[in-house]
């Protein structure tokens, strides 16, 4: 079981490493969206500090959303996905490994890049650690849930906008608690409750999402 997981994970990471564009695009997108807010709303430091928790979380969410389209696409196009599903190995583990690889290549770098944007948006310094932790846990949930929608739409010609339609309602709880955690840190309130709920949502999706991903992949490949 674990052997499949590691084999699939290392393969996906190697592929991502060889195609650096796929890996960098969401990061650049994250940076650009966050820059749009000062330009579009107001560059005043105290105002930006106020909206920074929400802006950073929404931008990270959108960047994750953008990267979902490619999650299974290339494997589907060259037939690898079909071979993976035909193999006697556990599809649960394959689905989990795929989602994990997606998180390592998008969620993790997004969380690590967030402090830079936090400084640009004048987020108070005491909230930066919470921002990184909440993004680390939250984006993992986003990857797992997003992989379901990505798997459902992988066989379709125009899956791009459809993924957003399917996934945004499911992302709302993560956004609420992620942004609230950062907001509480800004206000100097305890944040452990929010992080615990984010952790609970992560645990739930970690257990259940791979089933849904595997079932969705079967539907998409069966055509």
């Amino acid at each position: 079981m674990m052997r499949v997981f590691w084999a699939e994970l290392s393969r996906d990471l190697l592929l991502a490493f060889r195609h650096k564009g796929d890996f960098l695009n969401p990061l650049i997108f994250f940076l650009m969206v966050a820059v749009l807010f000062p330009l579009g709303v107001s560059p005043a430091a105290d105002f930006l500090a106020q909206i920074a928790p929400g802006v950073l979380w929404v931008s990270a969410l959108l960047a994750t959303l953008l990267s979902l389209d490619n999650l299974f696409k290339s494997d589907f196009d060259d037939g690898t996905l079909e071979q993976l599903l035909l193999s006697p190995e556990s599809t649960y583990m394959i689905a989990l490994a795929k989602a994990c690889a997606h998180w390592i290549t998008t969620g993790l770098p997004l969380a690590l890049m967030a402090p830079l944007l936090a400084v640009m948006l004048f987020l108070p310094a005491q909230a930066i650690v919470t921002l990184v932790i909440s993004l680390l846990i939250g984006t993992a949930t986003l990857s797992l849930v997003g992989a379901i929608a990505s798997a459902l739409t992988v066989g379709l010609k125009k899956g791009g906008v459809l993924i957003s339609l399917l996934v945004i309602p499911l992302y709302i709880p993560v956004l609420i608690f992620g942004a609230s955690a950062v907001q509480s840190a800004v206000d100097g309130l305890p944040v452990t409750a929010y992080l615990a709920i984010l952790g609970a949502m992560f645990a739930l999706s970690l257990v259940l999402a791979p089933f849904a991903i595997a079932a969705s992949l079967r539907v998409s490949v069966s055509s």
Partner: protein, 253 residues
């Protein structure tokens, strides 16, 4: 060997899987539900609009709850029905269950829309604004988005059997998410805004007020059953159009 396997579900459950049988039985049920529904809705509307007492604070504007509350309840029940029908379709590979799920989606979406619209119309005189980021309003809006997602996926998938399985997975994922969304929105709201909207909490209503409401809710359920069966029967005919019994049925008329 397979034939001897113990049947898990009652006989009617397996009979229901036959499109022909299902078409027949819904044909018999349809007049029952449509007549009861019509009677209940008429009775409920007249009672609610003419005979139910005025609210001591909101006057007559409260009467919109006789549309608003049933449609909100229906929007949620229809989602559960749709997801469960989808689950039955996945587990037992029943075409009928797939069609039921398909028939549910637009009806549920219109109920959610109706609940939002009536809520907005009621909110204007009562809260002074068309829209407030109240927890219930927001979660109903998200429910509408979930319906949109399901319908968009149906439209994008070509083959009905594939579309049914894909949307069943999506609606089951949504079903797991609905309580999470509901509670997260409620906590988000209570954390960020003072509880100024306690008006949404229904006061302990007198009997003359809630009895017509109950009649309306039952009427709405009958309406849903009618609308769903009509759509289901249409769907059965169009998907089974190559079978002999449909040909006979159509040429007989």
């Amino acid at each position: 060997m397979n034939m001897q396997k113990k049947q898990l579900m009652p006989k009617w459950f397996y009979q229901m899987a036959s499109p022909k049988w299902c078409y027949k039985i819904t044909g018999k049920l349809l007049p029952l539900f449509s007549c009861t529904g019509l009677a209940l809705l008429l009775l409920g509307t007249v009672w609610a609009l003419l005979y139910a007492p005025e609210d001591y604070q909101q006057g007559n504007s409260f009467r919109i709850i006789y549309i608003h509350v049933p449609s909100a309840i229906l929007a949620q029940s229809i989602y559960v029905t749709m997801a469960l029908a989808g689950a039955v379709g996945i587990i037992w590979k029943m075409k009928i269950a797939d069609m039921v799920a398909y028939a549910c989606a637009p009806v549920g979406a219109s109920m959610a829309f109706l609940a939002l619209i009536t809520g907005a119309i009621w909110g204007k005189p009562t809260w002074g604004s068309w829209w407030v980021w109240d927890a219930r309003l927001t979660s109903m809006l998200i429910l509408l988005f979930l319906y949109f997602g399901v319908m968009a996926l149906y439209a994008a998938m070509g083959k009905p059997s594939r579309a049914a399985r894909a949307t069943a997975i999506l609606s089951l994922v949504g079903l797991v998410n609905i309580p999470i969304i509901k509670y997260s929105v409620e906590w988000w709201n209570t954390l960020h805004q003072p509880a100024t909207f306690s008006l949404t909490e229904k006061p302990a209503m007198p009997v003359q007020m809630w009895l017509p409401l109950l009649v309306m809710v039952l009427g709405f359920y009958c309406f849903f059953a009618t609308a769903m069966m009509l759509r289901l029967r249409n769907e059965i005919l169009s998907r089974e159009k190559r079978t002999n019994w449909v040909k006979e049925l159509v040429t007989k008329v």
